[in-house]
C-alpha cells in the first residue's frame, strides 16, 4: 500500500552530479522539484571533517562512504554460459551513495572525449574501411556531436573550476596543453596543479621520445575559485586522501562544493534522503511516466507523481531502475532484439611500475587524485590503427593520487608477502616507485550486456541487475600496445627495474579497476539502437530523461565525468528550450 503524495513538476532520482545540476537549473526556472536519494545527506564539515576524512581503513578499505551491498548490488559473470553471482563486496568498481553520489569520492580526472569518439563507427569506417570493425563489436555513433557539446563541456568545467592547460583554443594549438584535444572555446578556469618529481621526470622522458606531455585536467583545484553559481572552492593541499574520500577543505569539485549550496537556496526544491526509488510509474496508456514509487528508511512506500521524471542515479542503477519499471525493451543478445541493457562497456587499464633508487624521493603521500602528467599520443585515433588491428586507444598517465600504506606499499617482484624480508623490502621501496599507466577505451560487444538477475534480489525483493562482461581481444590488444609505449617512457625515466603488467581477462570483481561503468541505456539516432534519443529523452516515454554514463554507446580512453556533465547540460538545454514549450512531446520523431 503506497501513500500518494501531492504532485510535483519534476522528480529527480538520485542527488549526485547530474541530479543536483538538473534540480538547480529547473528549480531556478520556478519548477517545483523534488530529488529522491537512497543514501544520507552529506556535507563537507560534518561528513568529511578534516580529522576524520583522511582515514584509509575506514574509507578505502572498509568502504564507509560507498553504496553498501547490503542495500543493493549487482550480480556478475564473465560470459553468458556462466551463472552470475552477487558482488557481495564491491571491488572492481565502487558506486557512490548519498547526496553527492560518486561525485564525492572521485579522483577528479576531468576529460573531454575526442570529437572522433562521438562518431566512432563512421570515423573508423571512413578512415580504415568498412571491414576494420569486428562483426561482434556493436559500437555506434553518438547522436550528438562534439561541436554541439562543446559549450556544455565548457560550462561544466567552469562550474567545477577545473585546473588545466588548454591545448587547442578554437583550433589554435597551445603550448603546454594537449595538442590532440578537441577545440575548446576557452582556457581552463584555473591553472594546472604543480608537478611532483615523478611528473617532472615523465614530462622530460616523454618529450625526448617525441610525445606531447601535458598536465592532467583536474577537479582538485589549484587555486581559489568562484564558479558561475557563486560557489567558492579553495586550493588543493595535496593531502593524498582524494579518491574514495570526501574532501575536507573544499578543494575538490563535487556537488557539495559546486552546486548544492546554491540549489538549497531554492525554496521550491526539496531533497528527500534515505528514500530509494523502486519504480518509475507509467500512465494508464503506458505512453508517459506518471511519477515514481519510493520506499523510505522505515520501509514505507510512497508514490510521488510528477510531470517530468529525471533518472539521475549512477549509470548501472539507472539501467536497473528502467528494467524494474519495464520502461523500454530488454536487450536479448541471442535474438539481437531490444535495447535496454545493450552496449555495456567498462575501461581497459594497465601499466608499468618503475622501481627507482633510494635517493629518488617521490613523496607519494603528497598527491592529489588528479595530480598527473599525461600523454595522449596513443589515445583515441591520434595514431594510425591501420596496421595495428584494433579499435580504440588509451591515455598514458603519470599520476600520484596517494601513498596510503595499507594499499600502496609495493615491493620488488619475488619478495615474500610477510616476514623480515618483506618488511625490509617494504621499508626500502616505499616512496621510490612510480607507475606509468593507461586508461584504455572499452568497446561494446553483442554478448556484453546488462539484464535482471533471475535469482538474486535486494532487501526489498527487487531483482538485482546482472552484468555479463569480459575483456575482449580487441581491447586487450589495444592495451598491450599502449602499455608497451608506457614501458618506453618509464625506461627513459631511469628506474632501476620495471614491472610491466598487461591487462588480462577474465574480468575479476575483486581488485579495484575503475568506477567507469558505461552503457546499458545508450543514446541513439533511432529507437532500435538505444533507449534514449539524442537529448537523453526516453524513446518510449517522452517525459522521462536519463543522464549519466549509461548513455555512452561505448567507452573512450578517458574518465567519463565531464562527458556526463556536458550531456546533462545538453539535455537541460533541450528541456528548457524545447520540451517545456511543448510538454509531453518527443523531441525526436522515432
Amino acid at each position: 500500500m503506497s501513500t500518494r503524495l501531492p504532485k510535483k513538476d519534476v522528480v529527480v532520482v538520485g542527488l549526485g552530479w547530474t541530479g543536483s545540476i538538473m534540480a538547480y537549473e529547473l528549480s531556478k526556472m520556478g519548477l517545483d522539484v523534488v530529488a529522491i536519494e537512497r543514501g544520507p545527506w552529506r556535507d563537507t564539515a560534518s561528513d568529511y571533517n578534516i580529522a576524520t576524512a583522511p582515514d584509509e581503513l575506514r574509507y578505502a578499505v572498509r568502504q564507509d562512504i560507498f553504496l553498501r551491498p547490503a542495500q543493493t548490488t549487482d550480480t556478475a559473470r564473465n560470459s553468458m554460459s556462466q551463472t552470475a553471482l552477487p558482488i557481495r563486496k564491491f571491488g572492481s568498481y565502487l558506486p557512490g551513495n548519498g547526496v553527492g553520489g560518486a561525485g564525492v569520492h572521485w579522483n577528479g580526472h576531468s576529460w573531454r572525449f575526442f570529437p572522433s569518439d562521438f562518431n566512432l563507427r563512421s570515423h573508423y569506417e571512413e578512415r580504415y574501411g568498412k571491414n576494420f570493425i569486428p562483426d561482434d563489436m556493436t559500437i555506434q555513433d553518438y547522436p550528438v556531436t562534439y561541436d554541439e557539446l562543446e559549450p556544455h563541456y565548457d560550462f561544466f568545467e567552469k562550474v567545477m573550476g577545473i585546473s588545466g592547460k588548454a591545448g587547442n583554443i578554437k583550433g589554435v594549438i597551445q603550448d603546454g596543453g594537449n595538442p590532440f584535444e578537441g577545440w575548446r572555446s576557452d582556457e581552463y578556469p584555473t591553472k594546472p596543479l604543480k608537478p611532483n618529481l615523478a611528473q617532472i621526470k615523465f614530462e622530460k622522458a616523454a618529450k625526448e621520445l617525441g610525445l606531447h606531455p601535458f598536465p592532467l585536467p583536474s577537479a582538485n583545484i589549484s587555486e581559489a575559485y568562484t564558479n558561475p553559481y557563486g560557489l567558492r572552492l579553495a586550493p588543493c593541499t595535496y593531502c593524498g586522501f582524494c579518491e574514495w574520500f570526501g574532501c575536507a577543505n573544499y578543494s575538490k569539485s563535487s556537488p557539495q562544493t559546486c552546486v548544492l549550496p546554491a540549489l538549497m537556496r531554492h525554496t521550491n526544491f526539496e531533497a528527500r534522503t534515505l528514500c530509494e526509488v523502486t519504480r518509475i510509474n507509467k500512465t494508464r496508456d503506458g505512453k508517459m511516466a506518471s511519477g515514481v514509487t519510493y520506499v523510505d528508511a522505515a520501509g514505507r512506500e510512497f508514490e510521488q507523481p510528477a510531470d517530468i521524471v529525471l533518472v539521475c542515479a549512477y549509470a548501472t542503477f539507472n539501467v536497473r531502475l528502467l528494467m524494474l519499471s519495464q520502461l523500454g525493451t530488454q536487450y536479448d543478445p541471442v535474438s539481437n532484439t531490444g535495447t535496454l541493457g545493450r552496449n555495456y562497456a567498462y575501461q581497459t587499464n594497465a601499466g608499468v611500475l618503475g622501481y627507482f633508487d633510494k635517493d629518488t624521493h617521490f613523496n607519494p603521500f603528497a598527491g592529489a587524485g588528479s595530480q598527473g602528467m599525461m600523454a595522449d599520443d596513443y589515445n583515441g585515433d591520434n595514431f594510425d590503427h591501420a596496421e595495428l588491428g584494433f579499435v580504440g586507444g588509451a591515455n598514458i598517465n603519470c599520476n600520484t593520487p596517494h601513498g596510503r600504506p595499507i594499499s600502496a606499499r609495493p615491493t620488488p617482484p619475488g619478495t615474500p608477502r610477510w616476514g623480515s624480508e618483506w618488511k625490509k623490502a617494504t621499508a626500502e621501496t616505499y616512496g621510490h616507485t612510480q607507475s606509468v599507466g593507461t586508461q584504455g577505451s572499452s568497446m561494446s560487444y553483442r554478448d556484453v550486456y546488462l539484464d535482471l538477475d533471475p535469482t538474486y534480489k535486494d532487501r526489498l525483493g527487487n531483482p538485482l541487475m546482472r552484468m555479463t562482461f569480459d575483456f575482449k581481444e580487441n581491447d586487450l590488444k589495444m592495451s598491450r600496445f599502449v602499455v608497451d609505449r608506457c614501458e618506453e617512457i618509464m625506461k627513459n625515466m631511469g628506474p632501476q627495474r620495471m614491472v610491466k603488467t598487461y591487462k588480462r581477462g577474465p574480468w575479476n570483481v575483486v581488485p579495484y579497476q575503475t568506477t567507469h561503468n558505461t552503457g546499458g541505456a545508450v543514446m541513439s539516432s533511432t529507437p532500435d539502437k538505444g533507449v534514449v534519443n539524442r537529448y537523453g529523452q526516453h524513446w518510449d516515454a517522452p517525459n522521462v530523461f536519463v543522464t549519466g554514463a549509461c548513455l555512452f554507446p561505448q567507452n573512450a580512453g578517458y574518465n567519463p565525468t565531464n562527458t556526463v556533465g556536458a550531456l546533462t547540460y545538453w539535455t537541460l538545454d533541450a528541456i528548457k528550450n524545447q520540451y517545456l514549450k511543448n510538454a509531453g512531446q518527443a523531441l525526436v520523431q522515432a
Binding site: 564539515a45 560534518s46 571533517n49 553559481y229 567558492r232 593541499t237 575536507a248 573544499y250 562544493t257 549550496p261
Partner: protein
C-alpha cells in the same frame, strides 16, 4: 555617546506620542513596504519566526541567563497574536517596553534600542505585521523561573537600565552618519550583543559596543581599536562584510552569520554605508590595549604550533593568511584577538557555519574538532593562533576550555 543619543527623557518622549494617532492602515502599500524593510533592519524574523519557517508566529524558546523565554506571536491572530493591538499599543511596546495592559516586557525584546525608533517607523512596522496572514499559535509566556517571572520586577530593572528615548541627530555630523547612528542604535540594536552586559543584564555603563560574551559566544568589539575592534577596517570592508558575510579579514559565523543572512545582507547599500560611516566615526579608539604576545618558545606555543600545522593549516594556511572568500584569515584577526577567547574556543570545539548570502553562496563550515583534542590541546592551539603572525592576546587555559565545553556540548 550613547548618552547623547538617548538624551531625551521619558516624559519628553511621551509627549511626542500624541494621543489618538490613526491606527496603521494595512492597505497602505508604501507604508507596508517600508515596514517590511524596517523589519529586516530590526531582524524581527530571527527571533519571532514560527515553526513553519515562514511566519512570525513565534513560539520557540529563547535561552537567557535567567531562564527560558518563549517568543511571542507577532501575526495578527486576535487570540494568540497581536491582532487586537492598536498602533498605539505597538508603539508603546517598542518605545516603553510595555504591553497594552501596562505590564513590562522582558528586555530580551530589545526595546532598549527600539525606543529610539520614530513613531512613523513603528507605525510602518505595525502596518507590515498587520498585513501578514494570521497564524494561530498560543505561546506560553510564563516560563521564566522565579524571581524573573515577576514582571513587576521589570519596572525595577527599567529604573536601573532603561530610559525611554528618542533619536536625536547630531547636527555636527553628516546625514549619512546620523542615518547610521539611527540604524545601529535603534532598529539594528547592535548593542544588544556587542555591548557587555552588567550583572542584571543591562548595558554595562561606559562600555558601549566594546564587545561582550553572549552565552557561549563572544560578540567582538566594534570600537576603533585596530587590534580588537574595527579600527583597521575600511568603510568598504564593513559594507562588504555586512552585505556578503565575508571579507578577506573576517567571516561572519555563529550568531552574526544569522544576522547577516536575515538582516544586513538584505539592507540597501546606502544603509550599509551609513552604518559603516557611523561605526568608524562614532568615537575615538579607547586607550590602546597592546598586550605582549606569548613567546614563541613557550611550551604552550610549541604544542599549539604542532596542532596548528596538523589540524588547521590545510585551510587557514601556515602563515594564518586563510584563503580569501572561503577560509578566514587568522593573522591580524579581530575575532581571534578578543581578550575573551570564547568565540575562538567555541568555533574550534563545535565547528561553525559561515553566513551564506546571495553574494557568498557557499557558507563554508569549520568542522567540529572538540572530540579530537584535550582541553589543554585546545587551549594551546588557541593560544598559538592568538599570539602568532603579529597577533597578541592572553593565553588560554585548559579550565577555560573545560568551561566552554560545558556550554558547547558535543563529544
Amino acid at each position: 555617546m550613547r548618552a547623547q543619543i538617548l538624551a531625551a527623557g521619558f516624559l519628553a518622549a511621551a509627549s511626542l506620542l500624541g494621543a489618538g494617532q490613526a491606527r496603521a492602515d494595512a492597505d497602505n502599500f508604501t507604508e507596508v513596504e517600508r515596514g517590511k524593510y524596517l523589519a529586516i533592519l530590526g531582524d524581527c524574523m530571527a527571533c519571532h519566526v514560527g515553526s513553519d519557517g515562514q511566519s512570525m508566529s513565534g513560539g520557540h524558546m529563547l535561552e537567557t541567563p535567567f531562564g527560558r523565554i518563549a517568543v511571542p506571536n507577532l501575526t495578527p491572530d486576535p487570540e494568540t497574536g497581536i491582532g487586537r493591538w492598536s498602533a498605539d499599543d505597538f508603539n508603546r511596546a517598542m518605545h516603553e517596553g510595555k504591553r497594552p495592559d501596562g505590564t513590562h516586557l522582558y528586555p530580551a525584546f530589545p526595546y532598549t534600542s527600539f525606543t529610539l525608533m520614530s513613531r512613523s517607523d513603528n507605525d510602518a512596522v505595525f502596518a507590515y505585521l498587520q498585513a501578514q496572514p494570521a497564524v494561530k499559535n498560543q505561546v506560553d509566556r510564563s516560563t521564566l523561573p522565579f524571581p524573573f517571572n515577576v514582571r513587576l520586577l521589570m519596572a525595577g530593572w527599567n529604573m536601573l537600565n532603561f530610559t525611554p528615548g528618542t533619536f536625536r541627530p547630531d547636527p555636527n555630523k553628516s546625514d549619512e552618519f546620523n542615518r547610521g547612528a539611527y540604524l545601529v542604535e535603534g532598529p539594528g540594536h547592535c548593542g544588544l550583543c556587542h555591548t557587555p552586559r552588567n550583572l542584571i543584564g543591562g548595558d554595562k555603563g561606559g562600555a558601549h559596543l566594546e564587545g561582550g560574551p553572549l552565552q557561549g559566544w563572544f560578540a567582538p568589539s566594534l570600537t576603533a581599536d585596530r587590534r580588537t575592534g574595527i579600527g583597521a577596517w575600511t568603510e568598504q570592508e564593513i559594507v562588504e562584510y555586512l552585505r556578503t558575510g565575508v571579507t578577506h579579514r573576517s567571516t561572519a559565523s555563529g550568531p552574526m552569520a544569522e544576522v547577516v543572512e536575515l538582516s544586513t545582507s538584505r539592507m540597501t547599500e546606502a544603509d550599509l554605508k551609513a552604518i559603516a560611516v557611523y561605526l568608524r566615526e562614532r568615537a575615538p579608539a579607547p586607550a590602546a590595549s597592546n598586550p605582549t604576545p606569548v613567546a614563541a618558545t613557550d611550551s604552550r606555543m610549541r604544542a599549539g604550533e604542532a596542532i596548528y600545522l596538523d589540524s588547521c593549516a590545510a585551510c587557514h594556511v601556515g602563515n594564518g593568511a586563510g584563503v580569501a572568500g572561503i577560509f578566514p584569515r587568522l593573522a591580524d584577526s579581530q575575532f581571534v584577538q578578543q581578550g575573551d577567547p570564547t568565540g575562538v574556543l567555541r568555533v574550534v570545539l563545535q565547528g561553525a557555519k559561515a553566513a551564506a548570502t546571495p553574494h557568498a553562496v557557499t557558507g563554508p563550515a569549520m568542522p567540529a574538532l572538540g572530540w579530537r583534542m584535550t582541553d589543554q590541546q585546545v587551549a594551546d592551539v588557541a593560544t598559538y593562533i592568538r599570539n602568532s603572525w603579529g597577533n597578541a592576546a592572553p593565553a588560554v587555559t585548559a579550565d577555560q576550555v573545560k568551561a566552554m565545553r560545558s556550554v558547547a556540548g558535543g563529544h
